[in-house]
Symmetry: C2
Subunit: 798 residues, 2 copies
């Protein structure tokens, strides 16, 4: 496969003999390091015969995908050098980390970040030993790995992360290795459509390399076992132009890969130039590569009579028994020697200079590219004054407003003044969620076909910056990729279906928790999740749309990165959103319904209240200066309204009953300060919630969450929580509240049952409240709506 | 579009004029009902001019997909009649329920199940009113709808459910409408690959109809806006043969659809006949239909100057303001009259007889097909005696065994004797999870290409009954479809990634909770989920693979359907699995690690212990007949081992310390009996856990879950729970335990801190335990493994 004419990007053999020799040598160095980190704890340059003592006690790590990943990495490097590309690399098959760790170490970034892992024999020894070793680093592309923005521990998100990185980075090429195992997951399968959301003028490019490595742990992969024609059509159908690189002979494969990579870069540049010259953004059929190479490429062909290279047995540690089996040990030695390390590293363990010359310079190294340490590039959002969007609230609980609508106006103005580093994401629900003011500034990105009627109230534009697709997975992946590369965003979604991305939340929270401890990783913008269309307003969607349990998931993750807010009205939501959009390294979960709701606080009070995170609403309390008989708590918009209505009912019946009313916005205030940075001290908690009076806590979510947060509090035994208890179907709002006992009548009865002196005297009131519940239900079943006076309820005290 | 020659399935116009007239009339009847149920509460046959009083107070429901769904439904009916097909129908776009409710009502099944919804004017009125009405039924294909096994409230699972229904039902044709909104979700996008797992001899057929309805709530759909060629290639690439039916003229569309449906049925039969005649099961390129029709087809074309039919505005209620706007009211009346109801229903509201003749007979009606009420078809699993697989345990805590391995043998034998109604599902991890004995009886189904090396230790077969694909979504969808149609199964998956299907769990739990209340729905087999490769053994996977939080999700759902078990050893796992596989209408979550672990109970004791669900292990306790100083609890395999080791340490140091040891298998025993059917009475709880002694509870999952379950218990204030607290990376097992303080040393220190008389005297022991922790960590970081004597720990008391 010689090329006598030297390098020529337009031939199928672009590498000269010398180039081929060097690139292959560089690859051998990467593969040597990959094997080394799986096996060796000593004798890392093989300067003496390999002995059992040089082998780690426990062999962990994944060889299978590693050589293929290194192969991609260095071929991207070649073009970075040739064209001065600005590129990063995401490894979807996270378990192939040795194939990425090797190149990153070789290009020196690893040693810059971790000086003790130096580029010499001693450093290499530490580099090897720490891999998949207690106290060391994991076997994925974890946050500890410079250049990584994608760990790949859980599979499915590499392509959506890559697109998130490419948005609004016109100069950037995001290369992404997609494992053929990962490609079977749902999130990955739909994320190929992301290319329909990439604007060739404003955005960078994504170059996916689907790695047909052939096998998962024990099985072939689907995509590696369908006919070539089907595979090609699949990706053409997804809207890509697939190029194939297939084989196992290294020399041939280097030529093919070099040729194909060139072709892809040329395609990308051509599309970008055309769009940018014309100023017309249209959908592009972008190139992608399908790389079919053997699993465990260049590793042992056969072990104990079983096929290994090119088979699933190459997935993890091909020679598992090296410490005890002398034959295996010899095979390992031959395998390592097959890379001819003495040609690759000098006696000090430094990469030889002819190979050093292949390494991109400075921040062109993918491991040192600032986009992969996005916090370095992050600029603070320019923020309008959120007070400008305030709802006018002259008296508490007298007026109604749609809570999310002013937030839409605020997001619109944020978008207006942050046109290159702010995005809003949503699964086709931003209008439904009343955030549609944003379209005044930026429409929904749409690059697929248009029809004439799209002008009729449509909000589509090829220049739009709002991203909507009916895949919460893809949206969350884009959002994560976007913030990981230093930008900002906002994601609004239906409460019940935020569970679709439970596992993505888990993984990002883990990424952030680890990243926070790495001083060299600059903080990134927070993930801001508005959970709306909540459980309490599913009048026509019913039971399937009722699930406030995402919060139960959030509280399990590191308190360093988790925040939960339940603003009860417009002004609290605005203040909360302003805080969240300025925060960093957090996942902010804001729960607020989109429908019209009672308003309580004017802006000044809302700011004070949200700053405290919880507090007594004195206008709704009558315990001034004394110990109350009961503490009534509202947490969440609808529960707060019902709790207030309950106090109104009670005060009509029992004027001398002393009620303290508390609203909780910042949920983690419920937990001790030792457990969460937002936790409230026991002293403050006790003074708010009393030491021994009944607390009736009306909560937005599943009631047990409050016990989980507050079980250590002094007055926990008197804490009675109401919340959603999985009772629901097609109900009016009040009927649903009654079914789950968060309604005003149930709460009033709760108080009567728990304040000793009312237990007897309150019998009549209890019966009256029960009658009202039945009346509400009858009215709903007769008329399909709530009792009018219930809908229009206002706080009766001034 | 006439067909003068009468019906001929081989022409493009197979419907005779008369057939066309009738099928269109039937469709009009369906559409009339759909509009009626959205709008009308009276005057349901339009026997007088329409007035505001006839309109519901609140207009809820989704018109957009309804006419298209009804269109599909009746064209399937036509072929059921023609070929005596055994078919069911799944509506992916659940919100188009009016388009399914109509046909189901017309074929009489609705009235059979709900006699008050009779087939007359009065019944029709009740049918209309109950739709999306408080106290009535939801706007999806909820469990209340006869013939439904797929609600479609959350999108993404229609195709995988359909395949689950088709497996092992060779005679069945599962038709499934797939919304183009739903088609954007990840789970749906990968579920098209399910066709590669359908054996044409043994399984039935799935006929998907992708409904290019064009729009979601406010946006076009991606698949409706890509070139025809791309769309065709996409589905060819997925491995299907797509047929297109496109247009809006009803007569033309009826002919096209009839022709295409015929073609598809012929294709299906041909493939099945070929495979069945030859006895050779090969992958089939199955037919599918892409139906492009206007959203809100036959509805108002324009409202207030805005396009409605064929646009996103047709999504929900096209005329929203009918009660107040006289023009809209008139438009609604014209719309309803456009279906010419007087031709369709007689004066009593009965479908005219010429249309009744189009209805399939008896159980051929898709709404009355037993496969859609799978409990009717369910046969109990034939079960081997689980005691046959017992681990020999002569003394507790002396021997080790892999907990899941004997379960693999048991599953193998269950598979052996249930070859047509039992399946095992897993994401490429059954070998990794030590369940591979099952392959002795049934290999992994594989119908895609084979390579020679597949014979080398491979477990693939076109006849395999074990289904493995790297998509938890698809697996869970298959499993649900399989049990919903009356069969049984078992799904093993990695603990951390069971979160991928959180939302599917939620939706199935809701389906079951509603179904249980419907006496006409026969109980179905439980979903059995083995959660393995647990948080405590992620030695090489690290932090991303550590998440025991699925249980926190499970406990939020209805206690009627949720069960959680944490068997500590082989025999308890076998006993638990036997119980679960015999149960019905539950979701059983079994948590048990796959690695080698200490064994505690012989089979007799295990059965007794699992039957109680929790209990004192007297061999590990020294409080016989007295009140203990402390109660030590283990829940989960590894936490139990560490808790036992802690008691051993303590008894060495403090021989007179009275420790009661409790193990919990059935997690819901922790909750009061009023909260869950498995809840323990307070009396029993108090006698086990004491009224006032410290309880050290070592838990498998996040510790707060135990407080959530037990916060009402008498002795809750003395309950100290240890569990996973998000501390982890690459750790040895003991080191990970130490990080999270579930290790023996931390627990022993906990006891010293909480038993008053030890607080002073125990200072030396505390220091010793702390030193041991540090030693463990040093050893791990030095050698990569745990201290050998810790790994080989055995219970020292007999």
């Amino acid at each position: 496969m010689k090329n006598d004419k030297g390098s020529d990007s337009n031939t199928k053999y672009p590498l000269s003999e010398e180039e081929l020799r060097l690139i292959d040598a560089y690859w051998r160095a990467c593969n040597y390091l990959a094997v080394g980190m799986i096996y060796l704890q000593d004798n890392v340059l093989l300067t003496k015969p390999l002995e059992a003592a040089h082998i780690k006690n426990r062999l962990l790590g994944h060889w299978g995908a590693s050589p293929g990943l290194a192969f991609m990495y260095l071929h991207i490097n070649r073009l970075i050098n040739k064209y001065d590309l600005n590129a990063i690399f995401l490894a979807g098959p996270g378990h192939g980390a040795p194939g990425v760790l090797g190149p990153v170490y070789l290009e020196g970034t690893y040693s810059e970040v971790y000086p003790d892992i130096s580029q010499d024999a001693e450093g290499m020894k530490r580099f090897f030993k720490q891999f998949s070793f207690p106290g060391g680093i994991g076997s994925h592309c974890t946050p500890e790995l410079p250049g990584s923005i994608h760990e790949g521990g859980e599979l499915g998100y590499s392509v959506s992360h890559a697109f998130g990185a490419a948005f609004d980075n016109p100069d950037l090429i995001v290369t992404v290795a997609v494992g053929d195992g990962e490609a079977e997951t749902g999130p990955l399968a739909t994320s190929w459509h992301s290319s329909k959301f990439l604007n060739p003028i404003r955005d960078g490019a994504v170059l996916p390399i689907l790695h047909l490595n052939g096998y998962k742990i024990n099985n072939p992969t689907l995509l590696s076992r369908i006919p070539h024609d089907e595979l090609e059509k699949l990706f053409q159908g997804y809207g890509w132009k697939p190029y194939f690189v297939e084989g196992d002979d290294p020399a041939t494969m280097h030529q093919q890969m070099a040729h194909t990579m060139e072709q892809c870069i040329q395609d990308i540049r051509l599309h970008q130039q055309q769009a940018r010259a014309s100023g017309i953004a249209q959908r592009v059929i972008w190139p992608m590569i399908i790389l079919r190479s053997p699993k465990g490429w260049t590793g042992p062909k056969e072990v104990d009579g079983n096929k290994v290279e090119g088979f699933w047995r190459a997935h993890q540690v091909p020679l598992p028994n090296v410490r005890k089996n002398q034959t295996h040990l010899k095979m390992l030695e031959s395998w390592l020697q097959s890379y001819r390390p003495q040609e690759l590293f000098d006696e000090n363990g430094q990469l030889v200079s002819e190979l050093q010359a292949l390494i991109p310079q400075g921040e062109r190294r993918m491991s040192a590219n600032r986009h992969a340490n996005g916090g370095l590039l992050k600029r603070n959002l320019r923020m309008p004054d959120f007070k400008n969007y305030a709802a006018i609230v002259e008296q508490p609980a007298k007026t109604q407003a749609m809570n999310t609508k002013p937030l839409g106006a605020m997001l619109r103005d944020i978008m207006r003044i942050n046109q290159t580093n702010f995005r809003v994401f949503g699964p086709d629900e931003n209008s439904s969620n009343k955030l549609d003011a944003i379209y005044e500034v930026s429409k929904k990105l749409w690059l697929a076909d248009y029809l004439p009627e799209d002008n009729d109230g449509g909000q589509l534009s090829p220049d739009g910056r709002v991203l909507e697709m009916l895949s919460e997975h893809t949206l969350e992946g884009w959002f994560e990729g976007y913030v990981l590369t230093g930008r900002h965003g906002f994601f609004a979604t239906y409460e019940a279906f935020v569970h679709v991305i439970d596992s993505m939340f888990n993984q990002h929270a883990k990424w952030l928790a680890i990243s926070e401890a790495l001083t060299w990783r600059a903080p990134i913008a927070s993930i801001n999740l508005l959970i709306t269309s909540t459980v309490w307003r599913q009048d026509h969607n019913g039971f399937t749309h009722q699930d406030p349990g995402f919060l139960d998931l959030v509280v399990n993750k590191s308190p360093q990165v988790t925040r939960i807010y339940l603003p009860p009205d417009v002004n609290c939501l605005l203040s909360t959103a302003d805080h969240c959009l300025r925060s960093q390294n957090d996942i902010n979960v804001i729960v607020c319904d989109k429908q019209s709701h009672m308003q309580y606080l004017n802006m000044d009070d809302a700011i004070k209240h949200c700053t405290k995170g919880l507090g007594i609403w004195s206008w709704a309390s009558n315990d001034q200066g004394t110990e109350p008989d009961v503490v009534m708590v509202g947490c969440g918009d609808i529960p707060t309204k019902e709790a207030l209505a309950a106090t109104a009912l009670l005060r009509n019946e029992f004027p001398d009953l002393k009620i303290r009313f508390i609203n909780v916005v910042d949920l983690f205030r419920m937990t001790p300060e030792t457990e969460h940075p937002h936790g409230l001290s026991d002293y403050d908690f006790d003074s708010l919630f009393t030491m021994n009076k009944p607390i009736i806590f009306n909560f937005h979510g599943y009631p047990w969450l409050i016990h989980r947060l507050a079980y250590r509090r002094t007055n926990h035994n008197n804490l009675h929580v109401r919340g959603y208890i999985e009772k629901g179907n097609i109900n009016t709002p009040l009927e649903l509240a009654i079914e789950n006992r968060i309604d005003r009548f149930s709460l009033a009865i709760d108080v009567i049952n728990r304040v000793p002196r009312l237990k007897v005297s309150g019998a009549h009131a209890k019966q009256m409240f029960r009658d009202r519940q039945i009346e509400c239900q009858h009215y709903a079943h007769e008329h399909g709506v709530d009792l009018p006076e219930v809908d229009n309820w206002v706080w009766p005290y001034d």
